[in-house]
């Protein structure tokens, strides 16, 4: 009896050890699969464009938004006082204004210099010049602007901060950057590139899953009521009301589609067969949000993050498949 038990125990231990080793291998293969730097290039270019558009869209309101005695908005002092209560370590524009005052610079000058530096950093990102420094400057100044104007911030600002954070920790420069041509840096660690892309992919999955699941929990998205409210709510009411009424019957389907696309993203974006269609659906959803609700910057940043996370490989793989099919058909 003892012999049998000992025999079974000895067999069970290697079995469990094998299983642990298999899981470990799978996890390492999943997290550290070698990847190219095309996603970094997409992220860099996309964020450069996003930050440049952000700066240009606010060029007339920059001082009104962030000045101490703001005209039309909430004073920066109030926002920063509340931020200090929450956490004194979070970067803000007030720090630069205080440092500038030691040099005898006015608040207006400092705010203008900040705007110029942010736009400059965005242009450098687009060119791929001094990538890391530009990414850090863009992240810091954008974060300061967002935090100093916390009352007027919305989802787009958070997503831009998220993207810039991933960019500053990403292995820069990429092959398409000017830096690569100028300085000829060392070869990149492909596993590091793969791992960081994986983190961005997992983050995107969490974003859509939680966004989708909370929508699914409300009845409005299933009945089309939330779609109606979203499209008629000022200032997102771009579509004329008569046109919207004539398309009323489609709204429940669109609402359900939004719930399914967002919640299903976590599952279907990983499966090779559904990845392409799911990515196209998500990109289509963001294009539609931009066009029908006027949330252009929000759409741009979401498209950039999606393309960086899942674009390389998906679209290239799909076009390769189409090419092969055409070749087969020709033959």
């Amino acid at each position: 009896m003892r012999t049998t038990l000992a025999f079974h125990r000895n067999r069970a231990i290697p079995k469990r050890a094998n299983r642990v080793a298999t899981v470990r291998e799978w996890l390492i293969a999943f997290l550290f699969s070698p990847d190219s730097d095309r996603w970094v290039a997409l992220l860099r270019l996309g964020l450069g464009l996003q930050v440049a558009l952000y700066c240009l869209s606010l060029r007339n309101d920059w001082n009104d938004l962030f000045a101490r005695d703001s005209n039309g908005f909430i004073s920066r002092e109030l926002t920063e006082a509340i931020l200090t209560l929450q956490n004194p370590l979070v970067p803000r524009l007030g720090w630069f204004v205080a440092w500038g005052s030691y040099l005898g610079l006015t608040e207006e000058t400092i705010l203008f210099v900040t705007w110029i530096c942010l736009l400059g950093a965005a242009c450098c990102l687009l060119l791929g010049f001094c990538c890391r420094t530009s990414a850090i400057i863009a992240w810091l100044l954008h974060l300061c602007a967002v935090k100093s104007g916390d009352f007027v911030a919305y989802g787009m600002d958070n997503f831009t901060t998220i993207g810039l954070f991933y960019l500053i920790v990403a292995p820069l420069p990429d092959h398409y950057a000017l830096d690569w041509k100028l300085w000829k840096p060392r070869r990149q660690d492909l596993r590091r590139l793969g791992f960081q892309r994986r983190v961005l992919q997992l983050h995107m999955c969490l974003i859509y899953f939680f966004g989708g699941i909370t929508k699914c929990l409300g009845t409005g998205w299933w009945t089309g009521e939330s779609m109606w409210r979203a499209l008629t709510r000022p200032p997102f009411n771009i579509i004329p009301l008569p046109l919207l009424i004539s398309w009323k019957a489609v709204l429940p389907f669109l609402g359900i589609a939004v719930c399914l696309i967002e919640t299903g993203y976590l599952f279907f974006i990983w499966w090779k067969r559904t990845r392409f269609i799911w990515l196209v659906c998500v990109l289509g959803m963001h294009v539609a949000i931009g066009l029908t609700m006027g949330l252009y910057l929000f759409s741009v940043i979401m498209i950039v993050l999606n393309l960086a996370a899942f674009g390389p490989g998906t679209f290239a793989g799909q076009s390769e498949r189409f090419r092969l099919r055409r070749q087969e058909a020709d033959a």
Partner: protein, 203 residues
């Protein structure tokens, strides 16, 4: 390889924080009874929400270095908010109207003005923030700042009344029957600026 694993641990910790913050917001929505789930579950969601809040160090003292560190990190990486935009439903939009009272008894109505589309979107966020604020003195200060900028354009107004409310958009069927959007009153504050002292009242 060791450096890579260390970086992996740090980034996985980052993902854990993303997950925790997202769960916290979802559980807050569930605990608040804003969903179609049974109310009997609310207490469990609330308990889970409290657990996640404690896990994120938000039950510690404000000056606690652990709390300060976590808060600074999640703010700096842009992960401090959840992702439940327009969820579980789309809220009503808020509206602010200024009532300008002149010496001769004249009354004018003015809407807050912004320069461009981007500023308009941001102003909507600001109105949402004011609408969500439960702390009355803060709401009053925010409205006073907005009223002040209107007063700068109309310096001869003796009193400015800031009327804050929300707009109820009718359903598609109601619109078809000719129903228009309605404005619902929430708060009103009176401000007088010439003496540089805000004299405010809540109605």
């Amino acid at each position: 390889m060791r450096r890579l694993y260390t970086a992996a641990c740090v980034l996985l910790l980052h993902l854990f924080l993303v997950l925790a913050v997202s769960c916290q917001q979802t559980l807050w929505i569930l605990a608040g009874g804003y969903t179609s789930l049974p109310y009997s579950l609310d207490k469990y969601w609330y308990k889970a929400h409290r657990l996640i809040t404690a896990l994120l160090g938000q039950t510690l003292a404000l000056s606690n270095p652990v709390r300060e560190g976590i808060t600074a990190y999640i703010h700096s990486t842009g992960i401090e908010g959840g992702y439940g935009f327009f969820a579980p439903g789309v809220p009503s939009s808020y509206k602010l109207v200024f009532e300008l009272h002149y010496d001769d008894g004249r009354v004018e109505y003015e809407l807050p003005r912004v320069n461009g589309v981007a500023a308009g979107l941001r102003f909507t966020s600001l109105l949402d923030q004011i609408g969500r604020t439960h702390y009355d003195p803060l709401r009053e200060v925010m409205l006073k700042m907005l009223a002040y900028s209107t007063w700068q354009e109309h310096p001869d107004a003796i009193t400015i009344r800031a009327v804050f409310g929300y707009v109820d958009v009718p359903s598609a069927i109601d619109v078809k029957q000719g129903k228009k959007e309605s404005y619902n009153f929430l708060y009103a504050y009176d401000f007088s600026f010439p003496s540089q002292s805000g004299n405010s009242q809540t109605r």
